[in-house]
């Protein structure tokens, strides 16, 4: 079988690899034992503002150091083609911008987008009063502009989505806030970034409603003992209460003056 080799041109290699920077190789060798820049209990400062996307019914933008996420809520909209359902439908779609990670991400939807969307959906589902929206759908679109660690991304996306839903005026039982924790050696580090999450042996993301004191979503991956996971959850719940103040303040600040 004749292979179609183009002899007129200089063809490059078939496979290509992302460049490895010498700086990265060096930093991998000297890793300090203690956490750099924060105490283990600190979360990164959150900047949250609503009303970024004027076309949407509700929107929010969240920024925590190197994680930047924009969220837009469209709804409640009528469900035209599906049969009658007495409860509303909550659709969450997450999209990573191609420039959001170290290596370029293909703009097509892939399995990782859907898995993050499922986690954000689970965080929001118990909070939204869908029984008040029959035959309607609520569409939440999350766009990740810069991602620094998957767990931090999921937590920030849940916070942004909840703020956007509140900004849209959707009735909820309470604001959902979320926090991530990772276990590094034997310490619990809150709100890990990408390098810290890789160092850790287990990560936990908790979403809860601090106003009601209940947990809406708990996701854990990696290895930890049951006692460590309970400790992570307890710390996450305390941080979620702190984040709740930030979200509530951002929402009250954004109310238009009457």
């Amino acid at each position: 079988m004749q292979s179609s080799i183009d002899r007129r041109r200089i063809t490059g290699p078939e496979e290509s690899f992302a460049p490895v920077f010498a700086q990265d190789e060096q930093s991998n060798e000297q890793q300090p034992k203690a956490r750099v820049g924060r105490t283990p209990r600190d979360i990164r400062p959150i900047f949250l503002q609503t009303g970024l996307i004027t076309q949407a019914n509700g929107s929010a933008y969240i920024e925590t150091e190197r994680t930047k996420i924009a969220c837009a809520v469209y709804g409640p909209r009528q469900l035209k083609n599906t049969p009658y359902s007495d409860k509303g439908k909550l659709n969450v779609e997450v999209k990573f911008a191609p420039f959001s990670c170290r290596t370029r991400r293909v703009p097509n939807r892939d399995a990782e987008d859907r898995s993050i969307a499922n986690l954000v959906h689970q965080a929001l589902l118990p909070a939204v009063r869908l029984e008040l929206l029959p035959k309607s759908s609520l569409d939440v679109f999350v766009t990740v502009l810069e991602a620094d660690g998957l767990a931090g991304c999921v937590a920030a996306a849940s916070i942004a989505a909840s703020a956007a839903l509140a900004h849209a005026g959707v009735e909820m039982f309470g604001l959902v806030t979320s926090c991530a924790a990772t276990v590094v050696e034997n310490e619990v580090w809150m709100d890990p970034d990408e390098t810290e999450q890789e160092r850790g042996r287990g990560t936990l993301v908790l979403a809860c409603m601090p106003a009601l004191g209940t947990v809406t979503s708990a996701w854990q991956a990696g290895q930890m003992s049951a006692a460590e996971s309970l400790q992570c959850m307890k710390e996450c719940q305390e941080r979620c209460t702190d984040v709740h103040f930030v979200v509530a303040k951002a929402l009250t600040d954004s109310r238009p003056a009457t």
Partner: protein
């Protein structure tokens, strides 16, 4: 599922003496059946059925050039198992199950030692494929049980590294005037290739057989929790919590994964009790699966042809 049916099921579960449609108690599992080594071409395989839910798992090993060994899972939901779903919904469902399995099994600390061929150069990549034959509820427990059994059943062909050496005539001085004048040439690691000593159906058992996690799903209704739900019970009580525990012999139990699914909230004290109860149930399930594996009575160090004559 109509509202009346769901309310009927929930009332029966939360009654003072709970009743389930098939007469089980709240914590009873349906009949668990397990078969291992059923796919001749796979390095490891298993078929697990709990009640009407049946999953077939196969483990295949491939050689990769990546610096580390890896385990990846892939779940296939065919239309025969879910006749009411559209193809796009089937893909989404399979993707969701794949993600839950990968989040647990792809963890770097679970990868056993004998998956490396030439450290840093050539490693085995284990690909676990699971096919859902039928789903009658409690699919996550069956998926993890099948994956775990297929991994225990996996045999890794033994390899030995091969070193290439330059022929005796060539030496540094014959290569030219430049070399031999104080240049230090970096000596590369000698082993660059390997040979496989076993045939395709022989090999060493995959290490770390007691470290694979088992999954237990606790279905939640407002006052109680129950195990091994049927499809009707899952529709009536969609709120559930998944725990993946492993019980290695030499250390304490480890939590490999946890997930809350469905519309419902939990308080922290409820999570405390669910976690400790979940660990107990997972331990019993792991013991039951291990007991079934022993009943299959396959000696792992002999070749399958020798086992046939032993029988």
């Amino acid at each position: 599922m109509s509202k009346a049916e769901c309310s009927y099921v929930r009332q029966a579960l939360t009654a003072s003496s709970p009743v389930r449609a098939d007469g089980r108690t709240l914590l009873d599992y349906r009949t668990v059946s397990l078969a291992r080594g059923i796919i001749p071409l796979a390095n490891g395989s298993a078929r697990v059925a709990i009640g009407g839910t049946e999953v077939l798992a196969s483990a295949k090993l491939e050689v990769t050039d990546s610096p580390r060994a890896s385990i990846s899972c892939n779940v296939i939901c065919p239309g025969s198992a879910y006749p009411n779903l559209a193809p796009s919904a089937l893909d989404d469902l399979a993707g969701d199950y794949t993600h839950v399995l990968n989040a647990t099994f792809a963890d770097a600390s679970l990868i056993p030692d004998n998956l490396s061929i030439i450290p840093g150069k050539k490693n085995w990549a284990l690909v676990l494929d699971l096919v859902v034959f039928s789903d009658a509820g409690n699919i996550y427990d069956v998926l993890f049980a099948a994956a775990r059994t297929a991994l225990v059943d996996t045999r890794v062909p033994r390899t030995s590294p091969i070193e290439y050496r330059a022929p005796k005539g060539a030496s540094a001085s014959s290569m030219g005037p430049g070399l031999g004048m104080g240049f230090t040439v970096k000596r590369e690691a000698p082993a660059v290739d390997f040979e496989i000593k076993d045939t395709w159906d022989e090999g060493a058992q995959l290490a770390g057989a007691d470290a694979w996690p088992v999954c237990v799903t606790l279905n939640l209704v407002p006052t109680v929790h129950f195990l091994d739900a049927t499809l009707l019970e899952e529709a009536a009580a969609p709120h559930r919590m998944l725990f993946m525990f492993s019980f290695p012999k030499k250390s304490e139990a480890k939590l490999h994964g946890m997930r809350l699914l469905g519309p419902g909230e939990l308080s922290m004290s409820q999570i405390h009790t669910l976690l400790s109860d979940g660990q107990n149930y997972a331990q019993k399930l792991a013991q039951a699966l291990d007991a079934q594996l022993k009943l299959q009575d396959l000696s792992l160090d002999t070749t399958p042809s020798a086992v046939y004559t032993l029988r």
